[in-house]
Point group: C2
Chain length 164, copies 2
């Protein structure tokens, strides 16, 4: 769903082109699911992502499967508490789930926090666009909670940038 | 969302592999949006669909853009009331939106009716799997309405098959 929201932010609110691909295998129930998003100013010929500019992994399984696909010089973001990184780790550790818990008390908002961190660090889409897209997709009654989670993600991104 | 539900039915409930790709352009807001689903017993190398086995178009714009992509001998399903077909039309016309309206009174359930028609005609996934996937994704309080819409789609598929 975070991938869909990112693609919608780009296409509906920022006027770009976007594709979003979800892959499901036998591990779909609770395991590592993957979403790939392509954002472009022009037409997108191939929705397939070979070496992503940015990879976000929020679980150990996702880290092991997908972290190495990030392109050289790309950005790798991992959940600090949930991912045991390898020796050659070259990315940014963010306590995504912990921020979600402290901000909203709801684990499910970790994805929204991650979107805030991602957009705050990369400006892949505008903050206005991601906020509109998150609000439009938030289940009724959870809009404010998700806005707070997103803002907490933005704040954490600023914190990281200030520290670099 | 119908594409996501179909992919989840295949992967989570039928134990297959699946990918689902959504494409968004400047037309994303209210225009023709497109979802591509690949279902396989084995691993899926490319989520990109070049010539689909089945194409479902529920609007004129979608028909004009995507109907011709269906592979030779493939199945094309269109909304009978919403699509003006061309002279060389070779597919199945189903009053999807009308069935949704008559069954639930809610236009938004047309996508669920379409899933019922699609699965009823093709058995791409099992009826049990699509019913579980629809129910799991239905907004709270709309589960029964969506189950009815799905059943109406199944019934229409039987009707079509009996007539062939």
């Amino acid at each position: 769903m975070a991938g869909i929201i990112l693609a919608e932010a780009a296409a509906i609110y920022d006027g770009k082109q976007a594709t979003q691909t979800q892959s499901y295998g036998p591990e779909a129930r609770g395991g590592a699911s993957r979403s790939e998003v392509v954002i472009s100013d022009g037409e997108i010929d191939h929705p397939e992502v070979l070496s992503p500019d940015v990879v976000v992994t929020l679980s150990q399984e996702a880290y092991q499967k997908f972290a190495k696909s990030v392109k050289a010089g790309g950005l790798l973001i991992v959940d600090e508490d949930r991912v045991q990184t390898s020796g050659d780790f070259n990315g940014i550790k963010i306590p995504v789930a912990r921020i979600a818990h402290e901000t909203t008390g709801r684990a499910i908002t970790a994805n929204t926090v991650a979107l805030g961190v991602l957009v705050g660090l990369t400006n892949l889409v505008s903050r206005e666009a991601i906020e509109k897209a998150v609000t439009a997709r938030a289940p009724k009654g959870t809009e404010e909670m998700n806005r707070k989670a997103l803002q907490a993600g933005f704040a954490e991104a600023e914190h990281v940038k200030a520290a670099v």
